[in-house]
């Protein structure tokens, strides 16, 4: 069985750690996340893993060369993406590697879990659906994809980062796919599994709950907690993801067309202030974060500041013609 480990993320939410260390090389309990994943794949019967790289690829390559010396399975192939293809774009670009009609796994490298991937593979084989997703209960489901399931575990709804989640079932980012899903990935990259692929599988995909420990370690706070919590004690319950930045924040009602990124939608960004006795520091603009939300940070041509007295209102304003308000 083959598996993708999606590891190309820049890790902008983890700066400055990720200025020198790619996310999948973050140390947890004395070993990089990458090794935790490779060991988990090995235990699940995966014999070939494809790791896609973008940010600081040589750090990962050098580590894998050292690991290869120990002849530890599984076999690992790396693919460098000079331009990020998106998670679904990576799957589609490596169709030849996936080959025939055997199922494959795909996981995001910035999650930390002790979930048994063998149970994912076995569940997928047993029901024969095109895809099997993993879910966990989250108090902030809108930080990622939100699922609706019917009583048989069929995915009957999927929305990436909805402003108003319809359930607390969040996508855990571990998938078993039939190669037919690659036919569903259309259009030029970047294509994203959450935005572009999973909505097309509604009604055909199944989902199963994540047992055990699960955490998205994509923020400095979550990474710190993960270091304290790992390795988890047996029987620990699911953890929820924590994101310092969110493009569609929580349950605050604002419209968003989460199923399509054809046109930009109203987005939230929440820079996290760093406070001390002097006051606070806060990065209010981050090109990587904007790009991650599908926006073009280079588009802005004027930066202005307004100051208003209490009670003053400005608006509603809109702009004639094309372009920004």
């Amino acid at each position: 069985m083959k598996a993708f480990l999606l590891a190309a993320g820049v890790g902008s939410r983890l700066r400055p750690i990720t200025d020198t260390t790619p996310k999948c090389m973050l140390a947890i309990g004395g070993q990089p996340l990458l090794d935790i994943w490779l060991d988990a794949f090995d235990r699940a019967g995966v014999d070939e893993v494809l790791v896609n790289l973008h940010h600081l690829p040589d750090v990962v390559r050098n580590h894998l060369v050292a690991r290869a010396g120990s002849r530890k399975p599984p076999a690992v192939r790396t693919v460098f993406e000079p331009e990020l293809l998106g998670s679904a774009g990576t799957l589609a670009a490596n169709r030849a590697w996936v080959g025939g009609d055997e199922m494959f796994l795909a996981c995001y490298a910035d999650n930390l879990t002790d979930f048994d991937l063998r149970s994912l593979a076995e569940t997928h084989r047993a029901h024969g659906a095109i895809a099997t997703l993993t879910v966990f209960r989250s108090d902030r489901p809108s930080a990622g994809g939100v699922l609706e399931l019917d009583a048989a575990g069929t995915v009957v709804g999927f929305t990436e980062k909805p402003s108003q989640p319809v359930s607390d079932l969040a996508n855990a980012g571990m998938y078993a796919f039939h190669p037919r899903v690659l036919d569903e990935i259309a259009g030029p990259p970047p294509r994203d599994i959450g935005y572009d692929l999973l909505p097309r599988l509604v009604g055909r995909a199944k989902a199963m709950p994540v047992e055990g420990y699960f955490r998205d370690v994509g923020t400095a706070d979550a990474y710190r907690r993960a270091q304290q919590e790992w390795p988890p004690t047996i029987g620990s319950t699911s953890c929820t993801t924590s994101q310092a930045w969110s493009t569609a924040a929580g349950r605050e009602a604002l419209w968003t067309s989460a199923l399509s990124r054809a046109s930009p939608v109203l987005c939230f960004f929440r820079p996290v202030p760093h406070r001390d006795e002097r006051g606070f520091f806060c990065r209010t603009f981050d090109a990587d974060v904007m790009r991650a939300a599908g926006l073009d940070p280079a588009a802005f041509v004027q930066h202005s500041l307004s100051r208003s007295a209490r009670g003053a209102a400005r608006g509603l304003h809109v702009r004639r013609g094309d372009g920004e308000a």
Binding site: A249, C282, S308, R310, G315
Partner: protein, 82 residues
């Protein structure tokens, strides 16, 4: 949505989406970027108190610009923008 004064939020407002805000503190700063050079002739306003929109402004609106005072309701503005 109302914001505390120590909370940082950035909004991306797409094209054709009208926007407005009220200062809840004295004073309130808003920093913003635009992706096309500002052109006065393209400015359009919609009445902040249009009953069709029924926006629940948190405070009595004490100060407005001349432009905002004269803004037409949404239905009329939509015709002008079309």
């Amino acid at each position: 949505m109302a914001r505390r004064d120590d909370e940082q939020v950035t909004l991306f407002v797409p094209a054709d989406c009208a926007h407005g805000f009220q200062a809840l503190t004295d004073s309130a700063d808003v920093s913003y970027q635009i992706d096309r050079v500002h052109d006065l002739s393209e400015d359009a306003s919609i009445a902040f108190d249009d009953p069709e929109l029924a926006i629940p402004w948190p405070l009595a609106v004490t100060v407005r610009s001349q432009r905002d005072r004269l803004a037409p309701p949404l239905a009329a503005a939509t015709r002008l923008l079309a």
